[in-house]
């Protein structure tokens, strides 16, 4: 069995920041990443980030992993990275099991863990929602921005949150037509700055609308949409058929929480945070001692918050196993303050009403 000090599961924004923070404190860090490349979903974010300089605002997401990786290189004597490896189990005795490249299966006994597994895209229920051509909005973003492939010719975007609005804009940047963006809510969920941008380019944003059904034999050919009333029930007679070969589902994300639940962390269903999340204290330590969480796995927010949570969880996890920085309190308070600032807007209020139910 491999021994380790601090294992970080997931090398996305939260995991990378946790690694930087813990290694800076003096802990030996092992990052386990499922993909070939570190960076998680930052690798497809071509838009510039909001927030403050400390969260790399005004940089494009795609440029942030390289910065964090070069930061990690400063501590390379105590940083180990295993890529193309999936953690498949976290057990009661603290041992984790890893499957590397689908063939090498081994165990690790870490002193502490930071789980930064991220989130996945939710589905939406409607007839024929399983037709090829209907994809998660993030999936389309990967296809375009990572692989340079267009998803199709005409797109219906379902969901006018930030992801829906941003991906719509990115579809147009790739030369794909967006027929409409719709949202069941009576108001646009995402930032108005994003909404205005797509509207200026002539894309209608239809609020109080939903998908009634998808039509197609082998692939999506058409989508039937309809207006909904204040109880979100479709209004009869308001149906419209759109000629689209792609539908993007952008109705939110839900935390990837399987490993946390498997280990027996106390969990709670919090709609504001996207689903089932672990209870955790101010240091992002869960109900299981020495098991920390960060990023979307602890509640779906933006990458900026995930990065600060990563820095905080890494700092505290290192401290817990004996690597306390001289300015630990100062650093910790700074991260807490940054999180407070990031959550100070109207969207933050919603997030905070969820967070207050999970803090131990």
């Amino acid at each position: 069995m491999k021994q380790a000090e601090l294992v970080i599961i997931g090398g996305g924004p939260a995991g990378l920041c946790a690694a930087v923070s813990a290694a800076r404190s003096g802990a030996k860090v092992l990052i386990i990443e499922r993909n070939k490349d570190l960076g998680g979903q930052l690798l497809k974010q071509t838009h510039m980030f909001f927030g403050s300089e400390k969260q790399y605002a005004s940089l494009r997401g795609i440029d942030i992993p390289a910065i964090l990786i070069s930061e990690l290189e400063k501590y390379k004597e105590r940083v180990e990275i295993i890529k193309e490896a999936t953690v498949v189990g976290v057990f009661e005795d603290g041992v984790i099991t890893v499957l590397e490249k689908e063939e090498n299966y081994f165990k690790i006994a870490p002193k502490a863990l930071v789980l930064a597994t991220g989130a996945y895209e939710k589905y939406l229920s409607f007839p024929n929602n399983d037709l090829p051509g209907i994809y998660g909005a993030g999936a389309v973003q990967t296809l375009m921005n990572v692989h340079g492939v267009k998803p199709g010719n005409k797109v219906l975007m379902v969901g006018a949150g930030n992801i829906g609005l941003i991906v719509s804009y990115q579809l147009m940047q790739a030369g794909v037509k967006v027929e409409a963006i719709l949202d069941a809510a009576p108001k646009i969920g995402g930032y108005l700055v994003h909404a205005s941008k797509v509207r200026r380019m002539g894309v209608p944003i239809l609020t109080s609308h939903t998908v009634k059904e998808a039509i197609g034999k082998e692939e999506l050919e058409k989508a039937v949409i309809s207006q909904v009333d204040e109880k979100f029930s479709p209004i009869e007679g308001s149906e419209k058929t759109l000629d689209v070969d792609v539908m993007c589902i952008s109705v939110g994300l839900t935390p990837l929480n399987e490993l946390l639940a498997m280990r027996g962390c106390k969990m709670k269903y919090i709609p504001q945070l996207g689903g089932l999340v672990p209870l955790r204290n101010e240091n992002y330590e869960t109900s299981v001692e020495n098991l920390f969480v960060a990023g979307d796995a602890t509640g779906v927010e933006e990458a900026s918050a995930a990065m600060v949570e990563g820095f905080l969880a890494g700092l505290c996890a290192a401290e817990k196993i004996g690597y306390r920085l001289d300015n630990f309190e100062e650093m910790k308070n700074d991260y807490l303050k940054q999180l407070e600032e990031l959550r100070s807007g109207p969207a933050g209020k919603h997030i905070l009403s969820g967070i207050e139910q999970i803090v131990l």
Binding site: R34, P132, G133, L143, N145, H147, A174, L256
Partner: protein, 101 residues
């Protein structure tokens, strides 16, 4: 359908990779996953559902949802959305649960 021009990203064509889809020769590029290469070649149906045999494409493209499972070089249930394309790969639509070799 490849992106030809992009205001931010640069998709200069890389090395071509030839592979087989259900026995037919198809071309992708270095940096493609199996699913992205097939999509660019116009193939959206990657499999059939287990019981009702409905067509299946990818959904998440990051290896979470298992909607893109195919048989690759005789190995069933390969997540094609996160598996790099390689020269000469034999990619097939999978019927049923696939067989363990």
């Amino acid at each position: 359908m490849r992106i030809e021009e992009h205001p931010i990203l640069n998709f200069d064509k890389k090395k071509k990779i030839k592979f087989f889809f259900n026995g037919q020769s198809v071309e992708g590029y270095e940096g493609d996953t199996i699913a992205s290469a097939l999509h660019a070649a116009g193939v959206k149906v990657l499999g059939k559902s287990l019981f009702l045999h409905r067509p299946r494409g990818f959904y998440c493209a990051i290896g979470n949802c298992s909607s893109c499972l195919m048989t690759v070089n005789g190995v069933a249930n390969v997540k094609t959305c996160v598996t790099d394309l390689e020269e000469g790969m034999n990619v097939e639509i999978q019927e049923g649960k696939g067989e363990i070799v």
